[in-house]
């Protein structure tokens, strides 16, 4: 594989391969950012991969009080799934179990979209007849009485079919501490990109996978080519100086958001340099046969 | 005054086959051809149908409940379109003035208000007297009043019941007697919520059947020409066909008229437990020659239901559209309910529409089935022209059916019935038969000596248009309508029976009212002069 070098970091001339997804975005607010984030974190927990979680979700960004509909601090949350029905189901369940329940929370649509997804419409019946419908400014809200006041929730949010899931970067480093440092830099940079989320723990995934496995029923199994402990035992993608690899997976509201996120991540890790961070940066793909969206690292370099 | 209508096709089945002949009117009465005498007026009516003026036997055109409906619904006048311009007071939705005007324009010259509570007879007659052009008549309601029910409970003699009914008919200036959901209004006051033919009024221990049979027998004994006019129990309810069939069976060889049978044509079949039993009811009517019925056809759109059947109207409150109603627990036979309603072209509306038409078409004898929408309950009477078209054209029915709920129509026989009413049958159903039913020998036909109520319609392909705008209408020989517009206002009479009151009964009535209401009898009766018109009433003879 041809390689480029930036600031001493090797960049594989490869591409990340990503897929079309369905997605939505909402704003969760609360009396404090802490509780807005808590609701958001709870709602987006267990949402790393559609394979096992039904959806992929994370906080897109925090919002100051001046930028939210109700003038309280909040954050923007994105949820991605492979189909509309699954997205609706996940949204409804997570909203009901994690946001409705969270102290002081309120919830608003934050995506125009091409079709509506139920938000408060699905939850209003919790009000047992005491729910209040409000329509103004072209929007429709439900107010559901709860023990600390009211759960205010917009009736619907928007669905986009232009979302993309599976953008990724692989950071190959001399040791696990350096891999972690590189990945954390990338996460911090990508968090600033609107419309892109990283659904894995802290934005980082260590169990990169390949499609299928030797055991029946396994849809995915360990990416042995990138597992340093198997170097030499299997056909490895790792050179001897690499002892740890971490991956960042990116879902974006649009393909551009994924590209921008990868660009930001690349730049952060290149700026960090090989001594403190990654020696090499790569990306995962399936040979370009499965995903419609290809992000070539060389096109995204600073 | 001698008038000659020349060149028209005369449809007068009572007096012979349809033929082209002249019709002569002399001084308000139909006359033989005047030979060698020059008429004062000649009207060339070639290309036209000439019929007697039409008679509507069941149309709520005046009285307390109708007026309450006006009060409840000042915004409601669009239901009673069309509103022709520049005629005295005739444009006011459904004022008395407009009622007379619109009826006359369709060639109707006699209309019966079928529900007059005896205690509000004066109000009813004040309104009827203000309806211009046409003749009117009204039926006195009995069967829910304490006096009748007490007589029956106490097994008083039939003669006493006869005297009472004769007194009511005479003092209220009625043309006959109607019973409305017999006993139910009384039972409803004691919180009974459903009432069928063999249910019992708590206060009196009397079944509805007993009340109906007693009144029917009395009306027959008294020689009141119009048989007891029965509004049966369970109106509008799924399964009411059973009640109607039982009521028909209860006629037992004595004449009985069943009002608005369409509203009882419902079974409990189908997914919605609401189906057509019209074919079965038509069979029952065909097999009981003493029974006459009118339909109460439903047509689509906004209307208001007006009924003295207070129990039924109370149960309909939830379906009110717009949502406002008046429910009146009146004195004995008075009261009722005003419930606005919009017939939609949905399952229920479509089924009701079809049930009415099935009854029209499956009852064989046009002498025993009468043309009504139970105005305004099934539709305002202004919908009559469209209804004529549906009866006379199976194509028109098919065309309308395509707009309606197919599931509902699929549960009826309507599509398979291809009968089309002929003009002769229309003339029987809307002229000759009503006159016979009401005992009005002087009208309903064009024979010499009949009063000159004549409707002339311009023949055309558009049947509805033909009946909506009569080319000419004469009332008692006065030309009142030309080209579908009233050109001359006059006032007709209210037709009544006038039995001599039994002196003992009058005394009894005086005592009853003083004791029970604390008021003398003259609070409840009135002299003819109270109507403030010259000769407001015309007497109709009893059967001997």
């Amino acid at each position: 594989m041809e390689q480029l070098t930036r600031n001493g970091v090797l960049i594989d001339d490869t591409f990340a391969e990503a897929f079309g997804m369905r997605a939505t975005a909402i704003i969760i607010t609360a009396p404090t950012l802490k509780w807005a984030r808590q609701a958001a974190i709870t709602m987006t927990g267990f949402a790393t991969s559609v394979i096992g979680c039904g959806c992929e979700a994370a906080i897109d960004m925090d919002l100051p009080a001046s930028k939210t509909p109700d003038g309280r601090p909040g954050c923007r949350v994105m949820i991605f799934a492979m189909g509309t029905d699954e997205l609706q189901k996940q949204l409804k369940n997570r909203l009901g179990q994690c946001v409705l329940t969270s102290p002081g929370s309120a919830c608003f649509a934050d995506l125009e979209g091409t079709a509506p997804l139920d938000l408060g419409n699905a939850l209003r019946y919790f009000g047992d007849g005491w729910q209040i419908s409000k329509k103004f400014g072209g929007r429709h809200y439900w107010r559901v009485p709860v023990m600390d006041g009211e759960f205010l929730c917009e009736a619907t949010t928007g669905l986009t079919k232009l979302a993309v899931g599976g953008g990724n970067l692989l950071f190959l480093a001399a040791d696990s501490a350096k891999a972690m440092r590189a990945a954390e830099r990338a996460v911090a940079a990508i968090e600033k990109v609107p419309g892109a989320i990283m659904p894995f723990p802290g934005g980082i995934v260590r169990s990169g996978s390949k499609v299928g496995g030797k055991y029946k029923g396994m849809m995915a199994s360990t990416n042995d080519a990138f597992a340093p402990t198997l170097r030499g035992v299997v056909k490895s993608a790792l050179t001897p100086d690499i002892n740890a690899v971490l991956e960042i997976v990116i879902d974006g509201e649009t393909s551009d958001a994924v590209g921008l996120a990868m660009r930001a991540g690349l730049k952060a890790v290149i700026d960090l340099g090989p001594k403190r961070g990654a020696l090499r940066i790569s990306a995962g793909n399936y040979g370009g046969k499965l995903g419609k969206f290809h992000y070539h690292l060389k096109d995204l370099l600073p | 005054m001698l008038i000659r209508l020349t060149g028209g096709e005369v449809v007068d089945p009572v007096n012979g086959a349809t033929s082209k002949r002249d019709v002569w009117i002399r001084d308000g009465v139909l006359a033989d051809a005047a030979k060698g005498e020059k008429p004062d007026e000649i009207h060339d009516v070639s290309g036209c149908i000439v019929m007697a003026g039409a008679i509507d036997i069941h149309s709520h055109i005046g009285g307390g409940n109708v007026n309450t409906a006006r009060l409840l619904l000042p915004e409601h006048h669009r239901a009673h379109q069309p509103r022709p311009a520049n005629t005295p007071l005739s444009n006011a939705g459904w004022s008395t003035f407009q009622t007379g005007t619109l009826y006359a324009q369709m060639g109707f010259t006699t209309v019966v208000e079928p529900a007059m509570p005896p205690y509000t007879a004066l109000h009813t007659h004040l309104e009827l007297a203000d309806i211009p052009i046409i003749d009117k008549a009204t039926l006195a309601i009995l069967g829910n009043d304490d006096f009748t029910l007490s007589l029956l409970r106490n097994n008083k003699s039939t003669a006493m019941l006869d005297d009472y009914i004769a007194w009511v008919v005479g003092s209220t200036r009625a043309l006959g007697v109607k019973v409305i959901n017999a006993g139910a209004a009384a039972a409803f006051k004691e919180n009974v919520r459903s009432f069928s033919l063999d249910d019992v009024v708590p206060e009196y221990g009397l079944s509805s059947r007993k009340i109906v049979k007693s009144l029917q027998a009395s009306v027959n004994r008294l020689g009141i020409p119009h048989p007891l006019h029965v509004h049966a129990n369970n109106l509008g309810i799924a399964g009411s066909a059973d009640t109607a069939a039982a009521t028909i069976a209860a006629s037992e060889g004595v004449p009985m008229h069943l009002a608005h049978l369409q509203f009882y044509g419902y079974g409990t079949g189908g997914k919605r437990k609401f189906s057509s039993e019209a074919a079965r009811l038509a069979e029952a009517v065909n097999g009981n020659p003493d029974v006459t019925i009118d339909i109460g056809q439903v047509m689509f759109g906004q209307t208001v239901t007006i009924s003295s059947d207070v129990m039924r109207q109370f149960s309909a409150i939830g379906n009110a559209n717009p949502k406002k109603t008046v429910i009146m627990d009146g004195d004995g036979n008075g009261g009722g309910g005003i419930v606005p309603y919009r017939y939609k072209q949905d399952y229920y509306g479509s089924l009701q529409w079809a049930v009415g038409l099935e009854l029209f078409l499956l009852i064989d004898d046009p002498w025993r089935v009468f043309f009504t929408t139970d105005h305004p309950n099934g539709a305002p009477f202004t919908a009559y022209p469209e209804l004529f078209e549906l009866l006379m054209s199976s194509d028109a029915r098919d065309a309308k059916s395509t707009e309606l709920n197919a599931t509902a129509l699929g549960m009826t026989t309507l599509a398979s019935v291809r009968r089309e009413y002929t003009l002769e049958e229309i003339a029987i159903m809307t002229r000759a038969a009503p006159a016979k039913l009401l005992g009005l020998k002087d009208r309903g036909h064009l024979g010499t000596g009949a009063i000159a109520d004549v409707a002339v319609y311009r023949k055309g392909k558009d049947i509805a248009k033909m009946f909506r705008e009569a080319a000419l209408v004469f009332k008692n020989g006065d030309l009142v309508v030309k080209n579908g517009k009233v050109t001359h206002y006059r006032f007709g009479k209210t037709l009544r029976l006038n039995p001599p009151p039994d002196k003992a009964m009058v005394k009894r009535m005086q005592a009853f009212h003083e004791e029970r209401y604390g008021l003398s009898l003259d609070w409840f009766t009135f002299p003819d002069s109270a109507i403030h018109r010259e000769d407001p009433f015309a007497e109709v003879p009893w059967n001997s």
């Binding site: 109700d70 309120a106 409000k134 009211e150 205010l152 | 619904l73 409601h76």
Partner: protein, 271 residues
């Protein structure tokens, strides 16, 4: 294109029905047609030409110059475009509007915005009774849109409101929100007696504790709710008010308990 302008020549003798003077009603009419429109209703009914000088052409933008409490039904059924009246109007301004914008620079009579279902009606002066309410016999009030009164409103403001927003900035008379079904009425300033009487649902939002409340409204305390902030920001964004109406933790009364208790009166505390 200059706005189609109707300049009132003098105070009319009779009440005038201006319901025909809307973009839809005037589209395609010649100057002569317009001048001949009958707007009076008495024994000798006046025409447009008798009462107004007409200039301009743009029917999408209509101006009525000069006002009179005798000009009724301005902007009836307005669906698109704009109508502005530089003075006062009579009753039923904006009756059954579905869209567009109607601006009354003076005061309006009874039944302004009666039965409107969309669009924006703004009255800079005061409004009479039954703001947005049904006419006699009708059973639905305002069903949508936005109705703003910068002055006072009379009694029965928002009667049978079903949807939409009414904002009144200098107080209103008795029975505000009478028989409300849903929707929102926001009032700054003094509110008369028994607001919300017979209300089924809906919100009455006040900038102060109501003085004369029916006893079928129950004090529900003061609770932090996100809705107050959301709605305050909306009113400010729409330039209806310039500072928050309710603020955080508004007080709440629930009612009308005689009907269902599902309606609410929210009010700003501390005033």
């Amino acid at each position: 294109m200059k706005a189609l302008t109707f300049s009132l020549l003098a105070e009319p003798e009779e009440r005038l029905d201006l319901s025909a003077l809307t973009p839809a009603g005037l589209a395609g009419l010649t100057d002569l047609d317009i001048a001949r429109l009958r707007i009076g209703s008495g024994r000798q009914p006046a025409t447009v030409g008798d009462v107004f000088k007409v200039t301009g052409r743009n029917v999408e933008n209509i101006v009525i110059e000069g006002g009179s409490t005798r000009i009724d039904k301005v902007g009836t059924g307005l669906a698109l475009g704009a109508i502005r009246v530089t003075g006062a109007v009579g009753s039923q301004a904006g009756r059954q509007m579905t869209g567009g914008s109607l601006l009354i620079e003076g005061s309006a009579g009874h039944h302004a915005g009666s039965g409107m279902s969309g669009g924006r009606l703004e009255i800079k002066g005061n409004a009479g009774d039954c703001l947005g309410g049904p006419l006699a016999g009708e059973i639905t009030g305002m069903e949508g849109g936005m109705l703003i009164v910068r002055g006072k409103a009379g009694n029965y403001a928002g009667e049978r409101l079903r949807r939409g927003i009414i904002a009144i900035l200098r107080g209103c008379g008795d029975y505000a929100g009478y028989r409300m079904i849903a929707g929102t009425i926001a009032v700054t300033g003094r509110v008369g007696a028994t607001p919300g009487y017979l209300m089924k649902r809906g919100s009455l939002l006040f900038d102060r504790r109501p003085e004369f409340l029916a006893p079928t409204f129950i004090d529900c305390g003061e609770t932090d709710i996100a809705f107050s902030g959301l709605f305050d920001r909306f009113l400010i964004r729409e330039k209806i008010i310039d500072r928050p109406l309710l603020g955080a933790s508004p007080g709440k009364f629930g009612g009308d308990l005689a009907v269902s208790g599902k309606g609410e009166i929210l009010f700003r505390r501390g005033r």
